[in-house]
Protein backbone atom coordinates (compact mmCIF):
# COMPACT_ATOMS: atom_id res chain seq x y z
CA UNK A 1 0.00 0.00 0.00
CA UNK A 2 2.87 2.32 0.92
CA UNK A 3 4.30 1.91 -2.58
CA UNK A 4 1.00 3.03 -4.13
CA UNK A 5 0.74 6.05 -1.88
CA UNK A 6 4.26 6.99 -2.93
CA UNK A 7 3.27 6.62 -6.59
CA UNK A 8 0.24 8.82 -5.97
CA UNK A 9 2.45 11.45 -4.35
CA UNK A 10 4.89 11.25 -7.27
CA UNK A 11 2.00 11.90 -9.66
CA UNK A 12 0.98 14.97 -7.63
CA UNK A 13 4.59 16.19 -7.72
CA UNK A 14 4.67 15.84 -11.52
CA UNK A 15 1.37 17.72 -11.90
CA UNK A 16 2.51 20.42 -9.45
CA UNK A 17 5.80 20.76 -11.32
CA UNK A 18 3.96 21.11 -14.62
CA UNK A 19 1.69 23.71 -13.06
CA UNK A 20 4.64 25.73 -11.74
CA UNK A 21 6.54 25.63 -15.04
CA UNK A 22 3.46 26.64 -17.02
CA UNK A 23 2.52 29.41 -14.64
CA UNK A 24 5.91 31.00 -14.37
CA UNK A 25 7.18 30.65 -17.91
CA UNK A 26 7.87 34.08 -19.36
CA UNK A 27 7.54 35.86 -16.06
CA UNK A 28 9.94 38.72 -15.65
CA UNK A 29 11.10 40.52 -12.58
CA UNK A 30 13.01 43.66 -13.36
CA UNK A 31 14.38 46.22 -11.01
CA UNK A 32 15.36 49.56 -12.36
CA UNK A 33 17.10 51.46 -9.68
CA UNK A 34 17.84 55.08 -10.29
CA UNK A 35 21.47 54.22 -9.42
CA UNK A 36 23.89 57.04 -8.76
CA UNK A 37 21.78 59.70 -10.46
CA UNK A 38 19.59 61.99 -8.37
CA UNK A 39 16.30 60.10 -7.91
CA UNK A 40 13.47 61.84 -9.72
CA UNK A 41 10.47 63.26 -7.82
CA UNK A 42 7.38 61.08 -7.79
CA UNK A 43 4.70 62.79 -9.87
CA UNK A 44 1.88 63.99 -7.65
CA UNK A 45 -1.69 62.89 -8.27
CA UNK A 46 -5.05 63.18 -6.64
CA UNK A 47 -7.38 60.21 -7.18
CA UNK A 48 -10.53 58.81 -5.61
CA UNK A 49 -10.20 55.93 -3.22
CA UNK A 50 -12.78 53.17 -2.95
CA UNK A 51 -14.89 55.23 -0.56
CA UNK A 52 -14.93 58.15 -2.99
CA UNK A 53 -12.52 60.24 -0.92
CA UNK A 54 -9.66 62.05 -2.62
CA UNK A 55 -6.17 60.76 -1.95
CA UNK A 56 -3.25 63.02 -2.80
CA UNK A 57 0.20 61.48 -3.00
CA UNK A 58 1.83 64.69 -1.77
CA UNK A 59 0.10 64.33 1.60
CA UNK A 60 2.26 61.25 2.29
CA UNK A 61 5.50 63.24 2.09
CA UNK A 62 7.67 62.20 5.04
CA UNK A 63 6.65 58.56 4.72
CA UNK A 64 8.22 55.80 2.67
CA UNK A 65 5.61 54.97 0.04
CA UNK A 66 5.28 51.79 -1.98
CA UNK A 67 3.09 52.72 -4.93
CA UNK A 68 1.65 49.54 -6.42
CA UNK A 69 -0.07 49.63 -9.82
CA UNK A 70 -2.23 46.51 -10.01
CA UNK A 71 -5.57 45.09 -11.10
CA UNK A 72 -7.91 42.44 -9.75
CA UNK A 73 -7.70 40.42 -12.98
CA UNK A 74 -3.89 40.31 -12.87
CA UNK A 75 -2.64 37.04 -11.35
CA UNK A 76 0.85 38.15 -10.28
CA UNK A 77 -0.69 41.31 -8.77
CA UNK A 78 -3.11 39.26 -6.72
CA UNK A 79 -0.32 36.98 -5.52
CA UNK A 80 1.60 39.99 -4.19
CA UNK A 81 -1.27 41.48 -2.18
CA UNK A 82 -1.06 39.26 0.96
CA UNK A 83 2.67 40.05 1.15
CA UNK A 84 2.02 43.77 0.83
CA UNK A 85 -0.54 43.53 3.63
CA UNK A 86 2.15 41.89 5.77
CA UNK A 87 4.64 44.65 4.96
CA UNK A 88 2.11 47.34 5.86
CA UNK A 89 1.45 45.58 9.18
CA UNK A 90 5.13 45.16 9.92
CA UNK A 91 6.45 48.60 8.97
CA UNK A 92 3.42 50.88 9.10
CA UNK A 93 4.30 52.33 12.49
CA UNK A 94 7.84 53.05 11.31
CA UNK A 95 6.55 55.16 8.45
CA UNK A 96 5.70 52.85 5.56
CA UNK A 97 2.59 53.61 3.56
CA UNK A 98 1.57 51.29 0.76
CA UNK A 99 -0.82 52.80 -1.78
CA UNK A 100 -2.51 50.63 -4.37
CA UNK A 101 -3.44 52.15 -7.73
CA UNK A 102 -5.99 49.92 -9.37
CA UNK A 103 -5.97 49.86 -13.16
CA UNK A 104 -9.29 48.01 -13.29
CA UNK A 105 -11.89 49.52 -15.60
CA UNK A 106 -14.31 50.12 -12.70
CA UNK A 107 -14.30 50.09 -8.87
CA UNK A 108 -16.83 47.26 -8.25
CA UNK A 109 -14.44 44.28 -8.52
CA UNK A 110 -11.83 46.26 -6.57
CA UNK A 111 -14.20 46.90 -3.64
CA UNK A 112 -15.09 43.23 -3.55
CA UNK A 113 -11.42 42.20 -3.69
CA UNK A 114 -10.45 44.76 -1.02
CA UNK A 115 -12.93 43.30 1.43
CA UNK A 116 -12.21 39.66 0.64
CA UNK A 117 -8.46 40.10 1.09
CA UNK A 118 -8.87 42.44 4.09
CA UNK A 119 -6.50 44.95 2.56
CA UNK A 120 -5.04 47.35 5.11
CA UNK A 121 -3.83 50.18 2.89
CA UNK A 122 -5.64 52.66 0.65
CA UNK A 123 -6.46 51.80 -2.94
CA UNK A 124 -7.29 54.47 -5.51
CA UNK A 125 -8.72 54.05 -8.98
CA UNK A 126 -6.03 54.85 -11.53
CA UNK A 127 -6.50 55.99 -15.09
CA UNK A 128 -4.53 56.41 -18.30
CA UNK A 129 -3.32 59.86 -17.19
CA UNK A 130 -1.85 58.48 -13.96
CA UNK A 131 -0.20 55.70 -15.94
CA UNK A 132 1.38 58.22 -18.30
CA UNK A 133 2.59 60.35 -15.37
CA UNK A 134 4.60 57.34 -14.29
CA UNK A 135 6.08 56.65 -17.70
CA UNK A 136 3.28 54.41 -18.97
CA UNK A 137 1.83 51.54 -17.00
CA UNK A 138 1.61 49.13 -19.92
CA UNK A 139 1.73 45.88 -18.06
CA UNK A 140 1.09 44.86 -14.49
CA UNK A 141 2.16 44.83 -11.77
CA UNK A 142 4.48 47.83 -11.61
CA UNK A 143 5.63 49.20 -8.28
CA UNK A 144 7.58 52.29 -7.28
CA UNK A 145 9.41 52.71 -4.00
CA UNK A 146 9.33 56.35 -2.93
CA UNK A 147 11.49 57.78 -0.15
CA UNK A 148 10.49 60.16 2.64
CA UNK A 149 11.73 62.99 0.40
CA UNK A 150 9.11 62.15 -2.25
CA UNK A 151 11.64 60.81 -4.74
CA UNK A 152 11.46 57.51 -6.62
CA UNK A 153 14.23 55.16 -5.52
CA UNK A 154 13.23 52.13 -7.54
CA UNK A 155 10.78 50.81 -10.08
CA UNK A 156 9.83 47.14 -10.32
CA UNK A 157 8.20 45.74 -13.41
CA UNK A 158 6.47 42.39 -13.07
CA UNK A 159 6.08 40.14 -10.06
CA UNK A 160 8.65 41.06 -7.44
CA UNK A 161 9.89 38.97 -4.56
CA UNK A 162 8.66 40.54 -1.37
CA UNK A 163 12.13 40.34 0.22
CA UNK A 164 13.35 42.77 -2.45
CA UNK A 165 10.69 45.30 -1.44
CA UNK A 166 11.41 44.73 2.24
CA UNK A 167 15.15 45.32 1.86
CA UNK A 168 14.58 48.62 0.05
CA UNK A 169 11.88 49.78 2.45
CA UNK A 170 14.00 49.05 5.52
CA UNK A 171 16.91 50.98 3.97
CA UNK A 172 14.68 54.01 3.27
CA UNK A 173 12.95 53.92 6.65
CA UNK A 174 16.41 54.40 8.19
Amino acid sequence: MKKWILRGLALIAVVAGLYFVTRHHGERTTMRSTGTREPSPAPDFSLSDLAGQNLQLLSYRGKVVLLDFWATWCDPCREEIPHLIELQNKYGEQGLQIIGVSMDDGPEPVRDFYQRFKMNYPVVMGNAKTGELYGGVLGLPIAFVIGRDGRIYSKHIGATNISVFEKEIVALLG
Binding site: M1, W4, R7, G8, L11, I12, V15, A16, L18, Y19, T22, R23, H24, H25, G26, E27, R28, A71, W73, C74, D75, P76, C77, M103, D104, D105, G126, N127, A128, G131, E132, G136, V137, L138, G139, L140, I157, G158, A159
Partner: protein, 159 residues
Protein backbone atom coordinates in the same frame (compact mmCIF):
# COMPACT_ATOMS: atom_id res chain seq x y z
CA UNK B 1 -17.50 -9.88 -4.35
CA UNK B 2 -14.23 -8.38 -3.11
CA UNK B 3 -11.61 -7.10 -5.54
CA UNK B 4 -7.98 -8.22 -5.26
CA UNK B 5 -5.88 -5.82 -3.14
CA UNK B 6 -3.50 -5.01 -6.00
CA UNK B 7 -6.41 -4.09 -8.28
CA UNK B 8 -7.95 -1.87 -5.58
CA UNK B 9 -4.63 -0.10 -5.09
CA UNK B 10 -4.31 0.51 -8.82
CA UNK B 11 -7.85 1.81 -8.95
CA UNK B 12 -7.13 4.16 -6.04
CA UNK B 13 -4.07 5.65 -7.76
CA UNK B 14 -5.95 5.99 -11.06
CA UNK B 15 -8.94 7.78 -9.52
CA UNK B 16 -6.76 9.94 -7.30
CA UNK B 17 -4.48 10.84 -10.21
CA UNK B 18 -7.45 11.69 -12.42
CA UNK B 19 -8.86 14.02 -9.77
CA UNK B 20 -5.50 15.78 -9.38
CA UNK B 21 -5.10 16.15 -13.15
CA UNK B 22 -8.68 17.41 -13.53
CA UNK B 23 -8.16 20.05 -10.84
CA UNK B 24 -4.86 21.11 -12.40
CA UNK B 25 -6.48 21.29 -15.86
CA UNK B 26 -9.11 23.65 -14.49
CA UNK B 27 -6.35 25.88 -13.14
CA UNK B 28 -4.62 25.88 -16.55
CA UNK B 29 -7.82 26.42 -18.50
CA UNK B 30 -7.49 30.11 -19.27
CA UNK B 31 -3.77 30.15 -19.75
CA UNK B 32 -2.31 31.70 -22.82
CA UNK B 33 0.48 29.10 -22.66
CA UNK B 34 -2.00 26.49 -23.87
CA UNK B 35 -2.63 28.26 -27.18
CA UNK B 36 -0.90 26.17 -29.88
CA UNK B 37 2.19 27.79 -31.39
CA UNK B 38 0.60 27.57 -34.84
CA UNK B 39 -2.00 30.13 -33.74
CA UNK B 40 0.52 32.68 -32.48
CA UNK B 41 2.04 35.64 -34.27
CA UNK B 42 5.11 37.52 -33.05
CA UNK B 43 5.15 41.32 -32.83
CA UNK B 44 7.77 41.70 -35.58
CA UNK B 45 5.72 39.50 -37.94
CA UNK B 46 2.61 41.59 -37.32
CA UNK B 47 4.52 44.83 -37.88
CA UNK B 48 5.74 43.49 -41.25
CA UNK B 49 2.17 42.65 -42.25
CA UNK B 50 0.95 46.10 -41.21
CA UNK B 51 3.73 47.79 -43.16
CA UNK B 52 3.23 45.73 -46.29
CA UNK B 53 0.88 47.11 -48.90
CA UNK B 54 0.33 43.64 -50.36
CA UNK B 55 -0.65 41.79 -47.18
CA UNK B 56 -4.24 41.49 -46.03
CA UNK B 57 -4.72 43.85 -43.11
CA UNK B 58 -6.14 41.95 -40.15
CA UNK B 59 -8.92 43.04 -37.85
CA UNK B 60 -6.99 43.66 -34.64
CA UNK B 61 -8.84 43.38 -31.36
CA UNK B 62 -7.50 44.30 -27.93
CA UNK B 63 -9.14 42.00 -25.40
CA UNK B 64 -7.61 43.48 -22.23
CA UNK B 65 -8.01 46.50 -20.00
CA UNK B 66 -9.43 49.81 -21.22
CA UNK B 67 -7.03 51.81 -19.03
CA UNK B 68 -4.09 50.12 -20.73
CA UNK B 69 -5.67 50.57 -24.18
CA UNK B 70 -6.11 54.30 -23.53
CA UNK B 71 -2.41 54.64 -22.77
CA UNK B 72 -1.20 52.75 -25.82
CA UNK B 73 -2.55 50.40 -28.45
CA UNK B 74 -1.82 49.21 -31.97
CA UNK B 75 -3.12 51.84 -34.43
CA UNK B 76 -6.32 50.65 -36.04
CA UNK B 77 -7.01 48.06 -33.37
CA UNK B 78 -10.34 47.99 -31.57
CA UNK B 79 -11.00 47.77 -27.86
CA UNK B 80 -13.55 45.12 -27.00
CA UNK B 81 -13.21 44.54 -23.25
CA UNK B 82 -11.44 41.92 -21.17
CA UNK B 83 -12.24 38.47 -22.53
CA UNK B 84 -11.77 36.98 -19.08
CA UNK B 85 -15.24 38.33 -18.29
CA UNK B 86 -18.49 37.12 -19.80
CA UNK B 87 -19.42 40.65 -20.89
CA UNK B 88 -16.10 40.97 -22.72
CA UNK B 89 -16.67 37.67 -24.50
CA UNK B 90 -20.19 38.72 -25.48
CA UNK B 91 -18.88 41.96 -26.96
CA UNK B 92 -16.27 40.00 -28.89
CA UNK B 93 -18.83 37.56 -30.30
CA UNK B 94 -21.14 40.42 -31.24
CA UNK B 95 -18.33 42.30 -33.00
CA UNK B 96 -17.37 39.36 -35.23
CA UNK B 97 -20.64 37.49 -35.74
CA UNK B 98 -21.35 38.95 -39.17
CA UNK B 99 -17.80 38.49 -40.49
CA UNK B 100 -16.77 35.74 -42.90
CA UNK B 101 -15.25 32.82 -41.01
CA UNK B 102 -11.97 33.13 -42.91
CA UNK B 103 -11.48 36.76 -41.85
CA UNK B 104 -7.92 37.42 -40.70
CA UNK B 105 -8.22 38.44 -37.03
CA UNK B 106 -5.42 39.24 -34.59
CA UNK B 107 -6.19 39.18 -30.86
CA UNK B 108 -3.91 40.81 -28.33
CA UNK B 109 -3.74 41.91 -24.72
CA UNK B 110 -0.30 42.46 -23.12
CA UNK B 111 -1.60 43.15 -19.64
CA UNK B 112 0.71 40.69 -17.94
CA UNK B 113 3.45 38.15 -18.64
CA UNK B 114 2.20 35.65 -21.26
CA UNK B 115 1.61 32.76 -18.88
CA UNK B 116 -0.51 34.99 -16.64
CA UNK B 117 -2.70 36.66 -19.26
CA UNK B 118 -6.32 35.81 -18.43
CA UNK B 119 -7.74 37.28 -21.63
CA UNK B 120 -6.24 35.92 -24.84
CA UNK B 121 -7.10 32.25 -24.43
CA UNK B 122 -10.84 32.73 -23.75
CA UNK B 123 -10.97 35.12 -26.72
CA UNK B 124 -9.16 32.67 -28.99
CA UNK B 125 -11.39 29.80 -27.82
CA UNK B 126 -14.54 31.86 -28.43
CA UNK B 127 -13.57 32.70 -32.02
CA UNK B 128 -12.64 29.11 -32.81
CA UNK B 129 -15.91 27.90 -31.34
CA UNK B 130 -17.66 30.29 -33.75
CA UNK B 131 -15.81 28.70 -36.66
CA UNK B 132 -13.18 31.36 -37.37
CA UNK B 133 -10.19 29.67 -38.96
CA UNK B 134 -7.79 32.54 -39.59
CA UNK B 135 -7.24 33.86 -36.08
CA UNK B 136 -3.81 34.68 -34.66
CA UNK B 137 -2.94 35.69 -31.13
CA UNK B 138 -0.16 38.23 -30.70
CA UNK B 139 2.55 36.68 -28.54
CA UNK B 140 3.51 39.28 -25.94
CA UNK B 141 6.06 37.67 -23.64
CA UNK B 142 6.18 40.29 -20.87
CA UNK B 143 3.74 43.13 -21.45
CA UNK B 144 2.63 45.54 -24.15
CA UNK B 145 5.02 48.22 -22.91
CA UNK B 146 8.16 46.09 -23.04
CA UNK B 147 7.34 44.02 -26.12
CA UNK B 148 5.65 46.58 -28.34
CA UNK B 149 6.00 50.21 -27.21
CA UNK B 150 9.66 50.02 -26.17
CA UNK B 151 10.53 48.21 -29.41
CA UNK B 152 9.45 51.31 -31.29
CA UNK B 153 6.50 49.68 -33.03
CA UNK B 154 3.60 51.95 -34.04
CA UNK B 155 1.40 53.12 -31.17
CA UNK B 156 -1.81 55.12 -30.84
CA UNK B 157 -3.31 56.63 -27.69
CA UNK B 158 -6.82 57.34 -26.48
CA UNK B 159 -10.06 55.81 -27.70
Amino acid sequence: MSLPIKFRQMLFVLIFGSVVIAVASLAFAYQASLIPASRLINPDELVKILQSAKSERPLMIQVGSHVLYMQAHIPGSEYIGPASSESGLQSLRKRVESLPRNKFIVLYCGCCPWSHCPNVKPADDALHAMGFNNVKVLYIANNFGADWVEKGYPVAKGD
